[in-house]
């Protein structure tokens, strides 16, 4: 195809009264990118603004406000706003409401754009053009970007750009955001102090079928010849959605994904943790042992490390998810998982985030972004922390080793300790199902839209997109969750170091947090817990694994248990009922500041992390109470 860019205002129609009204000469300061999902809108945004982006949330909603800058002429900076992917501006979803508000200039703190880049997938022109009437009706100047030009020509499709631009009354550009072809033309268009296109005289099409007929007519009058459907996609679907091979490959991909986060991300995180602990020692060795050093090492440095240790897992998971999503396989996996997820009131897209939650809830909650439906996304975020993550393993292994005598259950395959561990994975999963069922008939009860999934064609994912998205997620986590984690870590470290006893720092038992542990003892007595467990529960609000270190300190300080191993000390201090109750408590409770911080970040409110924390704490308390009650009766 020869013509890459066509502006109807440069032809002789310019003088027509219908077009002159909207013309004005002024440099473009803000432009918004809008387009249907899968139109390649974000790829184009990344092309135009590489590494000059800012991510925040729109006030009061979960939708991300993504803005980037583009260097224009000297002294000119153009801000590009990447709006969420929407089919039109009908405002069914939060995404559409946000897009509509920004375009109408009703979004607080966001300037009304001078121009809208409407990105559509040119290989599916008739379907995607239906977004245009809504956008053009806003009266904003628009540039229609026909993306995926490479695929159109490769598969024998074609069209007449001049005819299309004339019919739309707006300039059009044919580009390929993936390989960068034609993108310069857009950049130049934005930089140029040229006339922005005027208001067009498009019909007002409120009714969906009228809109479709209009789009079909426009495509026909632009000599649009759709490309032949991809042979590869059809062939691949024949295998990947095959009755037998489909599920097998799906299983393999799921295992690989889990293994990648668990077996690559986790050791990297552990290695990084050790390195950071070591560095902490090196950095602060010269300081006098005292309050300041304690707060710096146990508070600030530990907070900082615990943010950084999540990065390998986030990077590995997003590397995987970007490949799955960009290649088109994620949609197929969602289809195959849909039946199962539908039973718990969610849809197939929740599968991958929930699976990755077994490795770590933090990247999993961020991965819930792939679920467009807000209701299902929230449901997924709320149940993800029930999946057994490795941070629970230290306390699980310690208590099981101390209380469960190892004996074979199924020959050499499964011993009693392994069975206890498996049981903990199962009750976590059951709690998730239970919670999903509650959500389904309470807060998520709103009338659901039908689950309709569009299957994108298979494509090779590009390195560019993989790197940008993984780095973006890592940065968003560090920046937003980081501050919360740092504050909590510092406060906990302070509480463990005050009040001074005779001018000296207190032992953990005399510290503010230790006293608090004593204070809550009556409340946790029904669970069989004493004040030591109380202190452990308080310190592990930061992170589950912290409780093992706390126990080490407490039993080490006590002359009665000083010479015992941690296992033996625990065995003499707790009843079997209390030990089982402790395990159940950790299976259900949300003892993880990072998860709370990331839920706050993803839902853009403190309401959901608060609800989630309290709900899980209540469930943990109840579960531990029942466990202690039943087991102590059985034992007696």
């Amino acid at each position: 195809m020869k013509v890459q860019f066509q502006d109807p205002s440069t032809d002789d129609r310019t003088s027509s009264p219908a077009n002159t009204s909207g013309h004005f000469r002024r440099p473009i300061r803000t432009a918004a990118i809008l387009g249907p999902p899968n139109s390649g809108k974000s790829t184009l945004f990344n092309r135009l603004t590489t590494l000059r982006q800012k991510v925040a949330n729109y006030p009061g909603v979960t939708v991300e406000h993504r803005a980037g800058t583009l260097a224009g002429n000297p002294g000119q900076t153009i801000t590009l706003i990447d709006l969420p992917g929407v089919y039109d501006l009908t405002a069914y979803s939060e995404d559409e409401r946000v897009a509509a508000q920004v375009l109408r200039g009703e979004m607080p703190g966001v300037a009304i754009p001078d121009l809208v880049l409407v990105v559509v997938d040119v290989t599916n022109l008739e379907r995607q053009l239906t977004i245009l009437p809504d956008v053009l009706r806003t009266g904003l100047p628009a540039l229609v970007v026909l993306n995926m030009a490479d695929l159109l020509s490769k598969r024998g499709g074609s069209m007449d750009l001049v005819k299309l631009a004339t019919q739309l009354g707006a300039p059009v550009a044919l580009v390929s955001a993936t390989d960068g072809r034609g993108v310069d033309a857009i950049a130049n268009f934005l930089k140029g102090n040229r006339r922005a296109p005027g208001k067009s005289d498009l019909p007002i099409l409120q009714e969906a079928s009228a809109c479709h007929n209009w789009a079909r007519q426009v495509a026909r009058d632009s000599d649009y010849r759709p490309p032949v459907p991809s042979k590869w996609t059809r062939r691949l679907d024949g295998v990947l959605l095959h009755a037998l091979w489909g599920p097998l490959i799906f299983l393999l991909v799921a295992v690989l994904l889990f293994q990648a986060v668990f077996a690559i991300g986790q050791p990297l995180s552990n290695g990084l943790q050790n390195l950071l602990n070591h560095l902490g020692q090196v950095f602060f060795f010269w300081m006098r042992v005292g309050l300041v050093r304690s707060v710096l090492v146990d508070g600030v440095w530990r907070g900082l490390s615990s943010i950084l240790v999540f990065l390998p897992q986030i990077l590995v998971l997003f590397l995987f998810i970007t490949v799955l999503e960009d290649s088109g396989y994620l949609s197929r996996a969602a289809l195959m998982a849909d039946r199962t997820m539908q039973r718990v009131g969610l849809n197939g897209k929740s599968f991958v985030p929930l699976l990755s939650a077994y490795a770590c809830a933090v990247p999993a909650i961020m991965a819930a972004r792939t679920i467009e439906n807000r209701r299902d996304r929230l449901g997924t975020i709320l149940i993800a922390p029930f999946m057994t993550c490795p941070a629970r393993l230290p306390i699980y292994t310690l208590v099981i080793a101390a209380f469960v005598r190892e004996r074979p259950l199924i020959g050499p395959l499964l011993g009693s300790q392994g069975a206890a561990m498996l049981g903990l994975y199962v009750i976590g999963f059951l709690a998730a199902l239970f919670t999903a069922a509650i959500l389904k008939c309470s807060i998520l009860k709103s009338f659901p839209l039908p689950f309709i999934l569009e299957l994108p064609e298979y494509r090779w994912p590009t390195w560019r997109s993989i790197v940008i998205r993984s780095a973006d997620r890592a940065w968003v986590f560090t920046k937003n969750a980081g501050s919360v984690i740092l504050i909590v870590a510092t406060v906990l470290a302070l509480l463990a170091n005050v009040p001074f006893v005779g001018g000296k720092r207190p032992g953990l038992q005399q510290s503010a947090i230790g006293q608090l542990g004593h204070l809550i003892e009556p409340a946790i007595q029904p669970l069989g817990f004493n004040w030591r467990v109380g202190i452990g529960l308080l310190t592990s609000v930061f992170a589950r694994e912290v409780i093992v270190g706390t126990f080490g300190t407490l039993y080490g300080e006590d002359p009665a248990s000083r010479n015992l191993s941690l296992q033996a000390a625990l065995h003499t201090d707790l009843t079997p009922g209390a030990a089982a109750a402790l395990l159940v408590f950790f299976a259900f409770a949300l003892q993880c500041t990072s998860t709370l911080a990331v839920v706050k970040r993803e839902t853009n409110s403190w309401k959901w992390p608060a609800v989630q924390f309290l709900y899980m704490a209540a469930l943990a308390y109840l579960g531990a109470f029942v466990t202690n009650f039943v087991i102590s009766r059985l034992w007696a």
Binding site: R127, A208, H212, P226, A243, G246, L335, R339, E454
Partner: protein, 94 residues
Amino acid sequence: MVFTPTTPEPNSAVAHETQTLSDFPVGETVIVQDIRLEGKLRSYIMRFGIVEGARVSVVRRVPLGALRVYRIGQSEIALRPETAKQIVATRNHQ
């Protein structure tokens, strides 16, 4: 979504009139006659190109469940059976 499970109706002229997308086998191409949904749900479905008069072909069944993939114009979409049952269609006689 509320829907009543429908049992296959006997082959009659009446049954033919109320055939829906979910009644046609893989490989069949049909024409959409009506969408038995109101308001918001109706226009939501129409966004995907399922409008009266649209040509839809049944592409394949998805394993591990009852979803099926349909082709409309240039795009392929997957529908749950309860959604497909709301879309009245007739065989394409062209």
